[in-house]
Amino acid sequence: MSERNCARCILAIQRPSRRWVNRALFVVWFAVLASLAGCAGDKSILDPAGQAARDVRLIWWVMLSFGTVVLIGVTACWLYTFKPRDVVRTPAQERRIARRWIVGGGIILPVASITALLAFGVPAGQRMLPLPLSDPPDVIEVIGHQWWFEVRYPQAQGSDSEGNSVVVTANHLVMPVGEPVDFHVSGADVIHGFWIPRLGGKIDMIPGRVNKIRLEADIPAVFGAQCAELCGVGHANMHLYVEAMPREEFDTWLASRQDEQLNQLATEDAAHDDAREAFLTHCASCHRVAGVSSGTIGPDLSDIGSRATLGAGVIAMEEGAVSHWLKHHQSLKTGNKMPAHDDLETDTLDALGAWLETLTP
């Protein structure tokens, strides 16, 4: 809201008008302020950081303005009809008036609005379609699991357990800024929803299919994202931390996740031998750490120390966070598929946590 408008509101409040008018204006003013503050959320559609989302925001404000005018207009007409009045009309006049209302409001108004809306809105969606480009964009694969996101970079120079050329992380998506990126999404078990609100629209992650959506970030920043399709008890606790960074940083980030680096990182420090031993006994069948294990049931942990959150966005990564998570994960994220570790010594869990936190390429 511009300063002038604010001042006008305040002036209006100061004028000696009726008390309820004052109150109403105050409420409106307060609501506008509060809603502007709300725009700042990291998942807000109304605070776009990419052209696709910006188009949709514009469409929204235009549609809202037009819709408000229609709603107020129709309601005002209805209320007006209750005003007592004495008009005598012939049946022919009545028929003419009725026809005007019905044809004007019932046909011309919606048809014109729909035509305008389609003409104006359909092109906005084109941007999100994975149409062929002369310079093919980077592909990032995202696979929804109950209840975490697997993120794969097939164009990178690493290799996964099956020897495919790929860098794999989980719940932390890094993308280059200022260029389109194609997201190829799928579901591993049930249907999940892929959605980075500040960048653009969502698409379902369906088992057995690959859906594609093209998004672009304008600014290097961190964006919130979370699963959009009900996927079971962990649905509310399935977040994706999205980080857009300049191309060079992104390339460095990818390069530092090549297998040799990750292998070395995981095995170099002899101080963590016990933890590695425990990991092989208790964790390796589900989790992969490059150079140590190759489980694929749970999230890949090769670079876990560098991620911003744990448990798909349930707690922030900080010192001691991993061991805290290992001890309390069933209460932090009810129903998640990792067994509780009540049978393990606290020391073992602490050691595991300390080692995993060093995995920061």
Partner: protein, 841 residues
């Protein structure tokens, strides 16, 4: 045109009333369970619907309590998912549809000048199926085993792998059971509106409400079967492991979504149309003038009905369907705004040209208008694909949906309840408490859901049991939760008002709102038989054009005022012109509907606990009860053994070749056809789209045997047609023999088809291909078997003398089933046995 039987004019009204009451009156005590009267059952539907509404409302309050603050652990995520799933399910299937059906069941015969619905025992069966199904479904909440995959039950989340408990089974079996009720009410409402309008009431003279209910009933008949099919398939997948929706076996989870929304989108209009019918009924009354643009409204209703079946994909814009399809469904979704806008402006023009009064029901109509227009506008926004991709599955959609459903259904419903309250009880509602109730509801509703649009735009997804502090959603959720409790207080006040009015309301004078339609010609509260005599109505506004009509009707000065024969009678009229064709005689109170519904409930419960032998036994028992029920028709001693009518009156329908049963069978076959088409859709969809579909190189079905079976069933159908043609010419020579012959030919088809199935050696738990074949063959086997049983029963009835040249009606009803069976058998064989051979896998 003069009334057909003038000789009734000189009857003593009091004596007439007593005689009619002896025939139509409701029994007391335990026998009240046998009542088939539409007034009583309509009220039972509505009261039961209100109870489920309260249950659904309490669930909603639990949800809002949980979401009031961030990071709350008032409910565990599992319980929360159960609560949200059941809130949607209860409100949609156990409140909205049955409530509106109840209102229609109560009002339609009264509005069109009939004495009851045309299949009274079916009304009763429908009620008990609804009651038992609803109890089974809500019972799951008590044992904390409720379905938790969301009210649209997307697979694989609802499959046995990801929802191992009984929750999904409760949903699939319970809802299917309840849908028996919806479809049977749909069938009889269609037939009643088309065939039992009073003398002279041509189609273009009937009240708009009847048009709306006709459209709703037809949409139920066509729209519900896809969901019934989907539920059957998913239950088969869960119970036996047939992979219809599981990718690995060649199924596809998206098939569930298509079938669900093939039902789910028409469902929205099934709920909205009757509510709009209430608005179209109330506005002219309170504006004191006829509605302007009757033809426009009828046009809008029909167009809405058609378009609503072409919109389902707009619930699936994010599943990754082709762009062209998205553009088509996007435009179609917006186009449905046109018929809706026509109605809105017809209402506006009617008020504009009338002298409207803001009585309590009109206040609710105004609330409806504002909320519904707002919901319609956000609906057009959602139809725009790029915007849909952003707000789909967020609280924006939750808000939109409640604007459409609460605005489009609940507000008109309350307006209607207040309007017809004097008819239910003979007393007027209070003005004060009612207004308080309205304003609290209106403000509470907007406080809850207007803000929720914003919460969605800020990125809050649907169906999350909690959210973090610092997400920016806290204040809006809190405001929504507080407002939702204001809304609850408003609804409580409305219910209190309605409850108190039965005790304290002022006695209503006759036709208190000065309405124009026939239901106000009833006594208040209405008698079991509605009208002493059935008038000739050739105007859209019978009570405005002839204010004395209620009195002359009560004095027996119109048609069918001769109750000496002891039958429950009303006019059977031409569907278009309303000319009297025959006298329809209705069956009286009966235990069979209750017994059949109880047997079906046992089937439902035994399927739930997986005691399949018991389920099989009770399917047979239910079948026996239903057949025994149909035994009491025609010239049976309990139905109409004597066919004598007053001089000048048309014959009884069972003594003609055309009657309501014929029409009911036709409408039922329409529903059945919708089920069959959904099945074919599933077959072709899996064949062409499913990612891991496997078609065997050679078809396992023996084509020669199928062709022979086809010849047998066609021959049987020809024999049936011949018998019917002879009956039409008053000839029943060798009728019994002909019927037995047709039955035998049908049995040949059943045996051959069974042999094909047996020798095909299908492995339906391995591939979806075999599973689909199995379901298709069982479908034709069941229908073939049904036709055989019904035909043999007709043969028996010929022997008993219940059917013959004197009562030729029933074989024509069964012959329709034969025709249907021939067509479906041919189409099925062509689709699953011939086409794969022609085009290959």
């Amino acid at each position: 045109m003069k009334s057909v039987n003038q000789e009734a004019i000189e009857h003593d009204p009091q004596q007439l009333h007593e005689e009619l009451h002896d025939i139509w009156g409701n029994p007391k005590g335990l026998k009240a369970l046998t009542i088939v009267n539409h007034t009583t059952l309509g009220l039972r539907f509505m009261v039961t619907g209100m109870v489920f509404f309260l249950i659904g409302g309490i669930l909603a309050m639990l949800v809002r309590t949980q979401l009031a603050m961030p990071d709350q652990d008032f409910m565990s995520p599992d319980i929360y998912n159960q609560v949200t799933t059941m809130h949607g399910t209860v409100m949609m299937f156990l409140f909205a549809i049955p409530m509106l059906e109840g209102l229609a069941i109560y009002l339609i015969p009264k509005m069109i000048g009939a004495r009851d619905l045309v299949c009274p025992r079916l009304t009763s069966l429908g009620y008990f199926c609804y009651l038992f199904g609803g109890i089974i479904l809500t019972f799951s909440l008590i044992i904390e085993m409720a379905p938790s995959s969301g009210w649209f039950m997307y697979t694989p989340l609802s499959s046995s792998e990801y929802a191992p408990g009984l929750g999904s089974d409760f949903w699939l079996l319970g809802i299917t059971f309840v849908e028996i009720s919806a479809v049977s009410a749909g069938v009889e409402l269609v037939v009643s509106i088309l065939r039992t309008r009073t003398q002279g009431m041509a189609l273009h003279k009937m009240p708009l409400f009847a048009w709306y209910i006709l459209a709703m009933a037809l949409m139920i008949v066509i729209g519900f079967p896809p969901l019934i099919l989907a539920s059957v398939l998913l239950e088969l997948e869960r119970a036996v492991g047939m992979p219809f929706f599981a990718i690995a076996g060649g199924g596809d989870p998206i098939l569930w979504q298509h079938l669900f929304w093939l039902f789910g989108h028409p469902e929205v209009y099934i709920i909205f149309l009757p509510a709009a019918g209430i608005v179209s009924t109330l506005i002219p009354v309170f504006a004191g003038r006829p509605i302007v643009g009757y033809g426009w409204v009828v046009f809008a209703i029909i167009v809405t009905g058609f378009i609503s079946f072409g919109l389902w994909v707009h619930h699936m814009f994010t599943v990754g369907i082709p762009q062209l399809a998205q553009a088509f469904f996007s435009a179609a979704s917006m186009l449905v705004a046109v018929p809706t806008a026509i109605q809105v402006f017809v209402w506006l023009a009617t008020l504009w040209l009338g002298k409207p009064k803001m009585k309590l029901p009109m206040l609710w109509v105004m609330g409806f208008l504002i909320i519904f227009v707002c919901g319609g506008l956000t609906g057009v926004m959602l139809a725009l694909v790029p915007f849909n991709w952003q707000v789909h599955d967020t609280h924006f959609v939750v808000a939109h949906m409640h604007y459409v459903l609460v605005g489009g259904m609940f507000f008109p419903l309350i307006a209607g309840l207040y309007y017809w309250l004097p008819l239910f009880s003979g007393r007027m509602p209070s003005e004060n408490l009612g207004r308080w109730g309205f304003w609290l509801t209106f403000l509470g509703f907007n406080g809850t859901f207007l803000i929720m649009h914003w919460t969605g735009l800020l990125g809050m997804p649907r169906r999350v049991y909690t959210y973090e502090a610092g997400s920016g959603w806290e204040i809006y959720n809190l405001l929504s939760s507080v407002s939702s409790f204001v809304l609850s207080a408003g609804i409580a006040m409305v219910l209190l008002d309605i409850a108190l009015h039965f005790r304290f309301g002022k006695p209503a004078k006759h036709n208190p709102w000065n309405a124009d339609t026939l239901e106000w010609a009833n006594s208040m509260p209405p008698s079991a038989y509605n009208f002493v005599s059935l008038p000739n109505v050739e105007t859209r506004h019978p009570l405005w054009d002839d204010p004395n009509l209620p009195y002359t009707m009560a004095e027996g000065k119109h048609g069918l005022a001769v109750p000496v024969h002891g039958r429950r009678e009303m006019w059977g009229t031409d569907p278009i012109t309303g000319k009297v064709r025959e006298i329809i005689h209705l069956p009286g109170n009966s235990w069979w509907p209750l017994l059949a519904a109880a047997a079906l409930a046992v089937v439902c419960i035994s399927l739930l606990v997986r005691v399949y032998a018991l389920a099989g036994i009770f399917v047979l028992i239910a079948g026996v009860f239903l057949l025994r029920w149909s035994w009491e028709n025609g010239a049976h001693p309990i139905a109409a053994p004597e066919a004598a009518v007053a001089p000048g009156d048309p014959p009884l329908h069972s003594r003609t070749m055309d009657g309501p049963g014929l029409w009911a069978m036709a409408v039922f076959l329409l529903a059945n056809g919708s089920f069959f088409l959904s099945y074919l859709f599933g077959w072709f969809y899996l064949w062409t789209v499913s990612p891991e579909w496997r078609m065997p190189d050679t078809s396992p079905l023996s084509l020669p045997l199928l062709v022979t079976a086809g010849i047998a069933i066609a021959a049987g159908a020809v024999v049936m047609e011949k018998m019917v043609r002879r009956l039409r010419h008053q000839c029943d020579e060798r009728l019994g023999v002909g019927l037995y012959l047709a039955g035998a030919l049908g049995a040949v088809q059943v045996v051959l088809t069974g042999w094909v199935l047996y020798s095909a050696n299908l492995s339906p738990t391995q591939t979806s291909h075999d599973a689909v074949l199995l379901v298709g063959l069982i479908y034709v086997l069941f229908h073939g078997g049904l036709a055989v049983v019904l035909t043999l029963m007709q043969g028996l009835r010929v022997g008993y003398g219940y059917v013959g040249a004197h009562a030729p009606f029933e074989p024509a009803v069964v012959a329709q089933l034969w025709r249907y069976n021939v067509v479906t058998f041919l189409v099925l064989v062509g689709s699953i046995a011939v086409l794969p051979r022609v085009v290959g896998g």
